[in-house]
Point group: C2
Chain length 456, copies 2
């Protein structure tokens, strides 16, 4: 049974009522009807005292499945309240990479105590040394590697034995030589259909795509997407197999990277916020993630005030010039953000790179000039409708045209330069760029006014 | 061998040189060293006359693999130049969903002629009736369904026969009853390890998650991600199995949806642009996708001019008020886009929904008030540093505070209301909202000025 968002509210209510009335068994029975992903959905809406109570009453496998589905921060928060021996048993049952993520969010001394207690510590401990956003942080160490000199028959017998022990068999089985170097890959489906006496070496595909343990997670996702891989082996400096990344892990990476881009383009520092779901974000974390950008942009934006004060005399003489200030800088910002959105999409899909900068500028400038002319014409007509002076209308029309072309140029150069400098382009292409266009656009406006208005 | 972006340029040059010199066989040999995904990368950088020449010289399987990797629009453009009989053979070799995508982009008469010519037309034709962005548009009709009353032994024998015919066997095998109703799912890995005499009914998992053929692709991606499914069966109104969606298709959906959000937030109409890679987008399409938003926003932004003209007298009396206009509306826009980015992320990850609106407003307002106070204080000090009148400094400080709180409120209400009205929140939360905040923010500023400045 799967849960819609509307049903979650109702089911959470039912579980909560059972818990409030002290009917723990009933609450567990209600939860057990659902897929662990849905159990997590209900669980995260319960008060933490009930969460701990439930987790303590579940058997170890159930608790492990539930913790795997929770956000790692949420899992760490409840796990903290369990008895260490019990938690160690649960961690042993979890996927090593999920267990490592959880352990990484616990206090250092508890983490060390748990690793001592755990039976599967040797699967989990190596994962703790890699940053979360690298191949090493994503990979699982619980994989089945085949030996290239074994036969298909021997291998199938071994797999049956694994299955009897309830060890999960992956779809792709990676093949190693006697020194654990990655040498090939075999699809489970080919094993079923091959003759039992054939050697693994003969059925494997030696063209196996792998990544290094420190490869960035975005690159991992790109490779799995491009080559449509269900599993990607991870190797160390000497091409020895150290883990396997599966497509499920990459689905989450794609969502994470995409929503991180949106935060950056909105001018929010993503760091601490990405680790917690919305409702777990603390007020001060939220304020901190916004304050420095907002302050920095405020200070940068005061440059517009400097420009305006510099053209004090012009403004006093022709007050009508001030009416168009928000319109002009708003339009510059809009034109710039259209170009930036196009660039970020093309960069994300790897359709353009820094070396294309001249071709991109040329392509975008053509569009920018057409848009500038069109909106410039509209601006002139609008100014005439307002009955402002003919010369002021001309200044506005020419300025809006120049500002759109200028914003287009900035919108291409900023993200592509960022990529060339290995800076995340979304960090500098949002409000930061808009602020820059505001100030420089105003400067253009008043220079055009000086050149055209007879009274200045 | 996999290709980095830098290598693509070099390899394309080599292939191109061979083609220019008329050494077609050498060009093919160079291409064949690479994975089809990389072949496509090189191929898309070649002039179209060489593309057609290459495609004509490839054998049918090779050409099919290459066309599968190209963007559907790119594939349609080269395919158009092939002889229809040859193209029909290639389409027969392609994945039915890729073949349907390609056919959908060809002229209607050519499409009909090809469907008549094709041997696998009955696999492809049903797919043409579903919109591209639904489960029906994503699914493959080339799946293996098991009968619930067959034994594991019979099934494995049948799978071996399929494999001998080079039919690809999926990881998850869906089980149907005699009327083709979906009743369960079996993992290939469980078949290998089960006893041959057991019935499929006994080894299958009857809790199979499925979607309707018209389910939106974003929902499909969400379900496969949440439940970590490698394959998702698609059913019709009567729960009859009609197709299967695999995780590879969903990886592309996630990228497509994420980059569509970024385009919308940047004020670009996504429709026609999403169908073509960056370099295939025609100038007029690009201009059209931006012009109407830019024009609409320009017209909406002229409201700021109306506000300023209305407060003409105040501006003339206190020209210093105009210095702060870009700063105030810029800060309002920045504060709003920070909140919107947070909302879009929480909505995408399904952490909040429209029914949470009050709780979200409360949470965000707290942050908004702290940020407003802090930036308001900075604004006051900055105005004093500029040496503007104490009263003007006070007006700016109070206005910036009110504008940040107001922008926060708008930034929560607009996207959540859009979702409640079933409008894509990214469509109305970008420049449109910023423009609204500009105009209303100015109004706030002058009302505060009127209330505080002694000379007004």
């Amino acid at each position: 049974m799967t849960l819609t968002q509307e049903r979650v509210v109702h089911e959470t209510q039912q579980v909560l009522e059972a818990l409030e009335a002290g009917r723990l068994e009933e609450a567990l029975r209600l939860l057990r009807r659902f897929h662990p992903a849905d159990q997590a959905e209900i669980f995260r809406h319960l008060p933490s005292r009930h969460q701990v109570l439930l987790l303590r009453s579940m058997d170890v496998e159930e608790a492990a499945e539930l913790l795997e589905e929770l956000h790692e921060m949420e899992a760490a928060e409840v796990a903290d309240d369990l008895a260490p021996e019990h938690l160690a048993d649960i961690l042993d049952e979890m996927d090593p990479e999920d267990a490592a993520d959880l352990l990484g969010d616990l206090p250092e001394d508890l983490k060390q105590a748990l690793l001592k207690e755990m039976e599967e510590a040797e699967d989990v401990a190596p994962l703790l040394q890699y940053p979360d956003d690298t191949a090493g942080g994503l990979m699982s160490t619980e994989y089945v590697a085949l030996h290239q000199e074994a036969t298909v028959g021997e291998t199938l017998a071994a797999l049956r034995a694994f299955a009897a022990e309830e060890i999960e068999i992956p779809y792709y089985l990676f093949v190693v030589d006697e020194k654990n170097h990655l040498v090939g890959v075999v699809d489970v489906r080919h094993l079923i259909t091959a003759m039992p006496h054939v050697l693994i070496r003969e059925v494997m595909d030696p063209n196996v795509i792998s990544v290094h343990v420190l490869t960035d997670q975005e690159e991992v996702a790109h490779i799995m997407q491009k080559y449509e891989l269900a599993a990607l082996p991870v190797v160390d400096d000497e091409n020895r197999l150290v883990g396997v990344i599966s497509y499920e892990d990459v689905l989450d990476v794609l969502s994470e990277e995409a929503t991180e881009d949106i935060l950056h383009l909105g001018g929010v520092e993503s760091g601490p916020l990405l680790e917690r779901p919305y409702w777990k974000q603390r007020l001060l974390e939220v304020v901190r993630s916004r304050f420095f950008w907002l302050l920095f942009l405020f200070v940068a934006e005061t440059f517009t005030g400097t420009v305006l004060r510099h053209f004090d005399e012009e403004l006093t003489k022709v007050i009508a010039l001030s009416y168009f200030i928000p319109l002009l800088i708003g339009t510059g910002g809009n034109a710039g953000s259209q170009v930036v959105a196009t660039m970020i999409r093309a960069l994300t899909l790897r359709e353009v790179g820094p070396r294309d900068v001249l071709r991109v500028i040329w392509k975008e400038l053509k569009a920018g000039m057409i848009l500038g002319l069109a909106i410039g014409l509209v601006a002139f007509l609008r100014a005439e409708l307002w009955g402002v002076d003919y010369h002021v209308g001309l200044v506005v029309a020419i300025s809006v045209m120049l500002i759109i072309v200028w914003a287009t140029l900035v919108g291409v150069v900023v993200p592509l330069t960022a990529v060339a400098l290995r800076i995340d382009p979304t960090l500098v292409s949002g409000p930061f760029m808009a602020t820059f266009i505001d100030g420089t656009g105003l400067l253009l406006y008043f220079l055009v006014a000086r050149a055209i208005l007879p009274q200045l």
